[in-house]
């Protein structure tokens, strides 16, 4: 699988990143090289090997359903805009849309 400029622009859009064309030219070959590393796996004998998402087979740790009192998290100090005990965010839909 090779990656072209369109793929890169799609990923940038999904990540809400906006970069100039010159940087796209710079990053695209880097990204293509990264993906080509994966091809190295093709040389391994992987017949019958299940794909795995994790490096080890550790099971998930579970927690009892007991509430804990939370310390003051000073949320207002982490919020760019704080109003009536809430994070205040700019308009979500732009003007004309509905």
């Amino acid at each position: 699988m090779s990656i072209d400029k369109k793929d890169l622009e799609h990923v940038l859009k999904l990540a809400h990143l906006d970069i100039p064309d010159s940087e796209k030219e710079e990053f695209l070959p880097q990204l293509q090289r990264t993906f080509s590393f994966m091809k190295a796996m093709d040389s391994l004998p992987l017949e019958g090997v299940e794909p795995s998402a994790y490096a080890n087979n550790q099971a998930q740790f579970l927690r009892e359903d007991t509430p804990e009192n939370q310390a003051d998290l000073y949320m207002e100090k982490n919020a760019p805009d704080w109003d009536q005990g809430c994070f205040s965010v700019p308009q979500i839909l732009s003007g004309g849309e509905s």
């Binding site: 799609h10 999904l14 809400h16 998402a53 994790y54 080890n56 087979n57 550790q58 099971a59 998930q60 740790f61 579970l62 927690r63 009892e64 359903d65 007991t66 509430p67 804990e68 939370q70 998290l73 949320m75 982490n78 109003d83 009536q84 005990g85 809430c86 994070f87 205040s88 965010v89 700019p90 308009q91 979500i92 839909l93 849309e97 509905s98």
Partner: protein, 485 residues
């Protein structure tokens, strides 16, 4: 004209009744002050790690077993990536290719016909926060929004059905049956008005006889049975008109507006979501051991279908009574508490009051079985007083209003309401004799066959005893005395 067939699949999000959130120890409470039930995990702070709630897993499996689903003892959490202000991490932890429950089914009843609806899967995921839009009623036209993260991280199960429903009324019946299951299995409170249960309907139409499905539109966030039914009908109408005028339905998400009775597009195809699911690196696979699975199975609450059968065969309740009890978990819980207070009383005697007068009174006073001051223990006491003859049914009717108002015990109210019913034969006989002596002409009438004339005598005795005489006893005494004369 082309005849169309409607095809509906439903996704239901049900909030689990755990004390804490899915991945954090913050309280899972509706209606608390904004941003009070949050931890660094809920906020998506760097370095904060999710730890899965054991109870949420048990609830998800319980729901799966109640819907006859295959249970996957190994399941995997995945990240669903998207940006929205109610999602602090920039991704939702959900399950994707290996959910906790696989294929199952639910039987629904529409107009007396049973139909089996397939369940595709049930997966666990976390809810998002809540947006409070400012400057307008909804998101449209608002100037900015406030974010309350109390709901962020609330455990949800998403129950996905097969596209097996063919009408809005089948969709409603499915939702009703599903709500009954999650409520009676104790996994979700089913409060649709508080958003504890929300439905998205996938709606498409196809010419009758066509095998392939038409393109579907997903109608979002239907939070009542009525809006589910209406939204589907509105969407079907839209798709029919569109196709008949030569247009094509596009796959998209649509919002239903109850006020205008219309659905509108939420996201165009151009920015269709690309969620880039991948296995959640912070959480290893969830493995349910055979032992744990066995414990959950053994602790399963009674299935609603079995409960209905037991109510009919063992308790002798009518279909109407069963419908009322099963339709509202609070009513059912109250009834079950009341019949345990005094097991000498036949449950049917208790049920009559729960389903009848008390239910009506609570509706009228906008109260509910969980809020009323009339406790289940007091109800049992009152029914006991009726069965012992201490009070009449009529007195009881007045009494429930007073109990709901004051929370007083029936025994206390008997006195303040003018004392117990007179069921002492000797005392009543005096009153009956006095009335007969004063109404010799009426006695003649009864002797001549006009038995209904006894009603007048009954009225006189009641008047003399201020309504406290036990009616059946008075009636018996009147006829006995008339015979003697």
């Amino acid at each position: 004209m082309t005849e169309f067939e409607v095809v509906i699949g439903i996704e239901v999000h049900a909030q689990l009744k755990t004390k804490t959130k899915l991945f954090s120890t913050a309280a899972n409470n509706f209606g608390d002050d904004v941003n009070t039930n949050v931890t660094p995990v809920c906020l998506g702070m760097p370095g904060a790690l999710p730890v899965l709630n054991k109870k949420a897993v048990e609830f998800a499996i319980t729901a799966g077993l109640a819907l006859d689903c295959e249970i996957n003892l190994t399941s995997v959490f995945s990240r669903k990536n998207y940006f929205y202000p109610d999602l602090p991490k920039g991704y939702q932890i959900s399950q994707f290719d290996l959910p906790i429950c696989g294929l199952g089914h639910l039987d629904i009843d529409v107009d007396g016909v049973t139909k089996r609806i397939g369940i595709t899967r049930i997966h666990m995921e976390e809810d998002a926060g809540k947006l409070l839009h400012q400057g307008a009623d909804g998101i449209a036209g608002s100037t900015h929004s406030l974010v309350d993260l109390n709901r962020a991280g609330t455990p949800l199960i998403e129950i996905v059905s097969e596209p097996d429903m063919r009408s809005a009324s089948e969709a409603k019946a499915y939702m009703v049956a599903l709500r009954e299951i999650v409520q009676h299995m104790g996994v979700c409170d089913g409060n649709m008005d508080q958003g504890s249960m929300r439905a998205d309907a996938n709606v498409s139409i196809r010419p009758v006889g066509q095998k392939e499905f038409g393109t579907r539109a997903e109608v979002k966030n239907l939070n009542s049975f009525r809006s589910l039914e209406r939204a589907i009908n509105v969407e079907v109408k839209r798709q029919k008109a569109l196709i008949l005028s030569g247009g094509t339905v596009i796959q998209e998400t649509r919002n239903y507006d109850d006020a205008t009775q219309s659905t509108t597009s939420l996201r165009g195809k151009a920015d269709a979501h690309d969620y880039r699911y991948f296995p959640e690196p912070d959480l290893p696979p969830l493995i349910v051991t055979q032992d744990w699975f066995k414990t959950i199975k053994e602790a399963l609450p009674e299935h609603p279908v079995a409960k209905r059968e037991r109510y009919a065969s063992e308790l002798g309740l009518s279909q109407f009574e069963i419908k009322v009890l099963m339709g509202d978990i609070e009513t059912d819980t109250y009834f079950n508490a009341a019949i345990l207070v005094n097991t000498e009383i036949a449950p049917k005697e208790i049920c009559k009051w729960v389903v009848g007068d008390i239910n009506a009174l609570l509706k009228e006073t906008e109260s509910s079985f969980s809020k009323t001051k009339l406790s289940s223990a007091h109800l049992a006491e009152m029914v006991d007083l009726i069965l012992k003859g201490t009070i009449s049914g009529k007195m009881a009717k007045d009494m429930i209003g007073k109990m709901a108002e004051t929370g007083d015990a029936p025994a206390k109210l008997v006195d303040s309401m003018g004392g117990a019913q007179i069921s002492d034969e000797g005392a009543l006989l005096e009153a009956v004799k006095a009335v007969l002596d004063a109404n010799l002409d009426v006695i003649e009438k009864i002797k001549n066959g006009k038995k209904q004339a006894a009603g007048f005598l009954m009225g006189q005795v009641m008047k003399a005893t201020k309504g406290k005489a036990k009616p059946d006893l008075v009636s018996k005494l009147i006829f006995e005395e008339v015979k003697k004369r």
